[in-house]
């Protein structure tokens, strides 16, 4: 997994609540058996005017110029600013894969759907919860200032705005550790093989039918 420590990144505002995983990556792209290459199809139905299918040359497709990700001032954005309940819907990890492949490293929202939130950490993406009024203030600032960037420091758990405002955020110690060090959590869990085996033996003795 890619490490995350510090980022000084351009922000793009996607002013919608309840953005679901079908919108982040439509199902036709879920047929891939790979983990990479989903970026050009992130937000496919909003980004392009035609219907996208796997295998198309996305560079030749007509763009929806109205959609915020397509506006020249937001090209190269690494921070996605959204409204509440971002990532609701399915458990598809293709959603964080697509966002990461597009170039995002941080998503800021008042709230996230649980499974999506979890999936982000497994893929080097940092989802940050901020109070709705702070998110609202950021929306206003981004829209008012071309080239608006934020500094995100995972170690300090702080976002610094160009005007010097600092927004602190919460993150689980374990997730922070994994993200800061780019650690694969399977390897970490396998350090506890003996614990797992001991638990399994006890569990099997108590409920043998689970192991039939």
């Amino acid at each position: 997994m890619r490490k995350f420590e510090l980022l000084d990144g351009l922000v793009v505002p996607l002013d919608r609540a309840n953005v679901d995983t079908d919108a982040i990556i439509p199902k036709q792209f879920l047929k891939s058996i790979k983990r990479s290459g989903f970026g050009p199809n992130a937000f496919d139905e909003w980004r392009y005017l035609d219907h996208g299918e796997p295998g198309m040359d996305n560079g030749k497709r007509p763009l929806n110029k109205e959609f915020v990700l397509n506006q020249p001032r937001y090209q190269g954005a690494q921070i996605l600013l959204v409204r509440e309940n971002f990532g609701c819907g399915s458990s598809r990890e293709h959603a964080p894969w697509a966002l990461e492949d597009y170039g995002f490293r941080v998503i800021i929202a008042p709230s996230f759907a649980d499974i999506f939130f979890n999936n982000c950490f497994k893929n080097g993406l940092l989802p940050i919860r901020l109070d709705a009024d702070k998110v609202d203030a950021l929306f206003k600032a981004v829209e008012a200032n071309v080239g608006y960037k934020l500094k995100v420091d995972l170690g300090l758990q702080a976002i610094t705005a160009p005007d010097g405002t600092v927004y602190k955020f919460e993150v689980d110690a374990f997730r922070k550790h994994c993200l800061l060090n780019g650690l694969d959590d399977i390897g970490l869990t396998l350090q506890h093989v003996e614990d797992i085996k001991a638990f399994e033996a006890k569990h099997r003795a108590a409920q043998p039918w689970l192991f039939a």
């Binding site: 919608r16 079908d22 439509p26 879920l30 458990s91 598809r92 869990t189 614990d195 039918w209």
Partner: protein, 467 residues
Amino acid sequence: MNAKTLYDKLWDSHVVRQEADGTALIYIDRHLVHEVTSPQAFEGLKLARRKPWRTGSMLAVPDHNVPTTHRAAGIADPISRIQVETLDANCAEFGVVEFKMNDIRQGIVHVIGPEQGATLPGMTVVCGDSHTSTHGAFAALAHGIGTSEVEHVMATQCLVAKKSKAMLVKVEGALGKGVTAKDVALAVIGTIGTAGGTGYAIEFAGSAIRALSMEGRMTLCNMAIEAGARAGMVAADETTLAYIKGRPFAPQGEQWDKAVAYWRTLHSDAGAQFDAVVELDAAGIRPQVTWGTSPEMVTSIDGRVPDPASAPDAVRRSDWERALAYMDLKANTPIGEIRIDKVFIGSCTNGRIEDMRAAAAVARGRKVAANVKLAMVVPGSGLVKAQAEKEGLDKVFIEAGFEWRDPGCSMCLAMNDDRLEPGERCAATSNRNFEGRQGQGGRTHLVSPAMAAAAAIAGHFIDVSKE
């Protein structure tokens, strides 16, 4: 002080390790696998030269990509075909039990687990699919996981997780005529919102829930995720035990007795504390119909499409406006005046035998309206299909003008050929009405099977309780 919730009991009995920051290593009893979210996990496992910890905990089935017609000819779409073949190859390589596409036991992963008795009370159940919450109907702790976690569970039999808060949703009283578990699910979501359950595990309780069949409880738990909760659950009782007994993967003989003694303890203790409690009056729930592009955008069949001007805040006002534009609906239109183009009866929410019976009871001896271009019934599994045919339900549907298909996810998410064309409006018994869910530009209204069948006959939404 020692009173525990059902969720506490399920959680506590699976903690392998507890870390200081609140995360825990949780042991997983049942791992269900399907073709869409597993290939990258199997690949990761192979790249790291790891083996599944316990293949006996796994049960695999292709469901999302499979065609619902002419199945003997195989899958026409080459990309879908590769995905299903990849599952077959991975299961063969690692010795995972799989019900292949032409096996009569094949079906939607959340239908076949319970049907086989592979979902049991007291289990932790995971699957790379958000509707894994369905299995909580059996007093199991069941929730969806992402593909990295699928790989993690394969490799370690465990999941790194943090305990959620507990919410009690209590529905007391008797449901009215024509009102089903689906209507309860939609009413709950309409009450608490699609993010209302975020961070919670929901236990559904109360006399109305106890009166539901296992299939109804599955429908309800299935949609816990649409209320934002990863897990939904119902305490084990006689209904649970009667459903499980004799199923292929269920314990037998002495093991059965031992299991039952344990399962009877799987309920919240009197006096157990919940972090949130929501109460609904069963008698007040009417047949529900969604009008927008999120399951919380729902009202009853007696209602009207709301006016965004009356939205509680600015964010919601613009959401409603966007939803009405997408759905091509005008504010204040009576729900009963919305005409439909297609009907989809099926999915892991409502693709079980009782759903087939409820829809057939409405369709019997009648005809699908002329304005309805396609009304399809897709059983949730091969065994549901066989049972329905034994009862003659297929004939009821076919005579009424419905199509009777082979089992799979089908038009719930339209990964196969079953989909809405841009602008088409559908009465669907599935669980998500997101933009483009059933096909780009398609418009989905979520309803119960009886309501969907009634809409097919009338050509527009109609109150099935007055039929």
